[in-house]
């Protein structure tokens, strides 16, 4: 039933343009796996290679351990949910849902029964006779999921299926999708450019940039231990300091920035391209890792001037100007009821622990 998916050194080229570059990924069976990346980075293209609508220029796609070369989309154990759903407008909801069974020659009576079960699963009982255009956006979404599930695929492929929905429905559907995945227990490969979606739902996330997989890890690791400058800047908010590596020890690297020497954990880039003395480096510090530290108790200290502070209910956002940088540093702090004692314009010292800062080799950043 549920199947594992392996991409082995997959390259996809359109003429001179490279849409996927040496992609090596192993997705375990029953896993909820997400591809996360900005628009145009090649997510849909990779998914089409898995579903069989295009074949890689180089490399192999294996599903359930079997090489899929030469096997068309209608013969693969995958079902794809399209970015625009692509429900059949001239069929009723139940005919849509059971199309895969109709193809296999299942009798109408048994298809009706299966449709009813699936309608139950997607919480649309008794709506089988409706036409697709009589449903709301969220309901259509669920019908698309049911239609794909009816094919009993080993792998369900979802191409930004929630992007067309409004925020509230999107959040609701996230939990629902995760729920359905756990109930049916098959492998889900989910594509999104929304990091919230990827981090909340997935067992593992692959972060992509321009056809390259930058990092594959679970959501926590992606957030706390980004492997590259791109991942650090794309996922979540991060303060960036630029500098040059001046010392490397086993636990940390020291980076000379315009604000003094800063000690940070070296990013785990999987052995390749680790930092050496003299390299250009970026140091990333999450806003929530940055603290006020007038007594300079922490290992790293920066002096800054408060630019502006914003109250957001459950927490405060404070922005600082620092010497020699256009960018503002950002600190966020839980609102614990104590009043904010700082004023804009005030000079302060900030501190952060080396374990909570990540140093990566200088490299491309995500667009703001």
């Amino acid at each position: 039933m549920s199947a594992e998916v392996t991409l082995e050194n997959v390259w996809i080229r359109f003429g001179d343009f490279v849409a996927a570059r040496a992609v090596d990924i192993n997705i375990r069976q029953g896993e909820f796996f997400s591809f996360l990346g900005p628009s145009g980075c090649g997510k849909t293209t990779l998914l089409r290679a898995v579903s069989g609508f295009l074949s890689p220029s180089e490399g192999r796609v294996l599903i359930g351990g079997k090489d899929m070369a030469g096997i068309g989309p209608n013969k693969r154990p995958t079902a794809l949910i399209f970015q625009n759903l692509a429900l059949f407008p001239l069929m009723t909801v139940w005919e849509n849902i059971t199309f895969a069974l109709e193809v296999r020659g299942v009798s109408a009576a048994r298809r009706r029964k299966r449709a009813d079960e699936l309608l139950e699963l997607i919480a649309l009982p008794g709506q089988g006779e409706k036409m697709v255009d009589e449903l709301s956006g969220g309901q259509r979404q669920r019908v698309a999921i049911a239609r794909a599930l009816a094919a009993e695929p080993g792998v369900l492929l979802l191409d930004e299926p929630l992007s067309a929905l409004d925020l509230k429905l999107r959040q609701h559907m996230r939990t629902e999708l995760r729920d359905i995945q756990q109930r049916v227990g098959i492998t889900f490969i989910y594509i999104t450019h929304d990091q919230g979606e990827a981090l909340t739902m997935s067992d593992n996330v692959a972060v992509m940039r321009e056809g390259v997989i930058e990092q594959v890890a679970d959501g926590n690791t992606i957030y706390d231990r980004p492997a590259t400058a791109f991942v650090a800047s794309f996922v979540g908010e991060n303060n960036l300091l630029r500098g040059t590596v001046s010392a490397v020890s086993r636990a940390a690297v020291t980076v000379d920035t315009g604000l003094g020497a800063i000690r940070a954990r070296a990013a785990d880039s999987g052995g390749k391209g680790s930092l050496a003395v003299g390299d250009d480096a970026y140091v990333f510090i999450r806003p929530e890792s940055l603290k006020f530290d007038e007594e300079k108790k922490m290992d790293n200290n920066i002096s800054a001037q408060i630019h502006q502070q914003e109250f957001e209910g459950s927490f405060w956002q404070v922005f600082f100007s620092i010497k020699g940088s256009e960018r503002k540093l950002k600190l966020s702090m839980v609102n614990d009821g104590s009043a904010m004692s700082h004023q804009p314009g005030q000079r302060v010292t900030l501190g952060f622990a080396p374990e909570l800062a990540v140093a990566t080799p200088a490299g491309p950043l995500a667009a703001e």
Binding site: N74, A79, L80, A86, F88, F99, V103
Partner: protein, 309 residues
């Protein structure tokens, strides 16, 4: 009242001058080119046949004799039915149906290919090569078919060179040339409505069906054809009507023994000078074709509004 409101809207949107022109032009077209001549024909078909000077005199009275003639023939004849005319009539209708079916079978794949598979310069080239032959006059095209299918034509020469036949086959006597000519004559009117319909079909639907395991024929049967149905119907209606009403192709390509119903109508008007019978026959053809089309539309559950989409 709704009509008045629509008219007011129409005037507001297009301005007085343009509105008057549009309404005038369309009105003139419909009234003088279509309604009045047809009314004259209907009137004629119910009157006795007289030379023009006697038109309008009391002698020019109403009668059903021309319609009766179509079914029963002249009173003096031996057979109790007008076998010749009826036979030609039914043969024409049946042949037109077959030509239409043949055209759908031929044009659907072409239209699908143009709409969903081909792109860019290649597609434009194909469309152009479909259209360009129709710049040639209809009569010339019919004669070209005669040349292709003639006893010493390309086809016979080719078949003989290949050793498939020993002596020329008479494609014209056997009406091959006629059906080929008729089938080709209105091909564009079949391709373009179907093309239009299929063009607006989302490619993802075809891919979704394939992804769900569907073989290609079922994708067409369940997804593409239902979607293209209005276009197919509209193409079929036009091709059927025009084929049943064609005159040039049967005149030029028809075998010596075969008649198309339009030729009988033509003879009534031009050779027999019997405008009344000609009118009656023309109206019988028109009414039968319309009835048949409406019947088929009902059978295939297509509404008139959809065709005009």
């Amino acid at each position: 009242m709704a009509l008045v409101r629509h008219l007011q809207n129409f005037f507001r949107r297009n301005g007085a001058a343009l509105s008057v022109f549009l309404l005038g032009a369309v009105g003139f077209w419909i009234l003088f080119m279509i309604v009045l001549p047809q009314l004259f024909m209907v009137d004629f078909s119910f009157r006795v046949n007289l030379p023009p000077p006697k038109w309008g005199t009391p002698e020019h009275h109403y009668t059903l004799e021309h319609y009766r003639y179509m079914v029963y023939g002249s009173a003096g004849s031996e057979s109790s039915f007008n076998v010749i005319d009826l036979q030609v009539f039914f043969k024409t209708i049946v042949a037109a149906i077959f030509v239409t079916i043949f055209d759908v079978a031929l044009c659907y794949p072409i239209a699908y290919y143009l709409a969903q598979v081909a792109h860019g310069g290649w597609a434009r080239l194909m469309v152009l090569s479909l259209i360009v032959p129709f710049w040639v006059n209809e009569i010339l095209r019919a004669f070209a078919f005669r040349i292709i299918f003639g006893a010493s034509g390309v086809l016979n020469k080719g078949l003989m060179a290949l050793g498939i036949i020993d002596e020329p086959y008479d494609f014209i006597r056997e009406n091959f040339a006629l059906y080929a000519g008729l089938g080709y004559a209105f091909i564009l009117l079949m391709i373009f409505p179907i093309y239009n319909a299929i063009e607006s079909l989302d490619k993802n639907q075809i891919e979704a069906a394939r992804d769900l395991g569907s073989p290609w024929w079922r994708i067409h049967w369940r997804v593409v054809i239902p979607f293209a149905k209005p276009g197919i119907t509209s193409g079929c209606t036009m091709v059927f009507m025009l084929t049943a009403g064609a005159l040039a192709a049967p005149q030029i390509l028809g075998g010596p023994s075969s008649l198309w119903f339009t030729q009988i109508i033509y003879q009534a008007f031009n050779q027999a000078g019997n405008w009344s019978r000609g009118s009656a026959y023309a109206i019988i053809l028109l009414a039968s074709c319309i009835a048949l089309v409406l019947l088929l539309m009902r059978a295939f559950k297509v509404r008139l509004g959809e065709i005009a989409r």
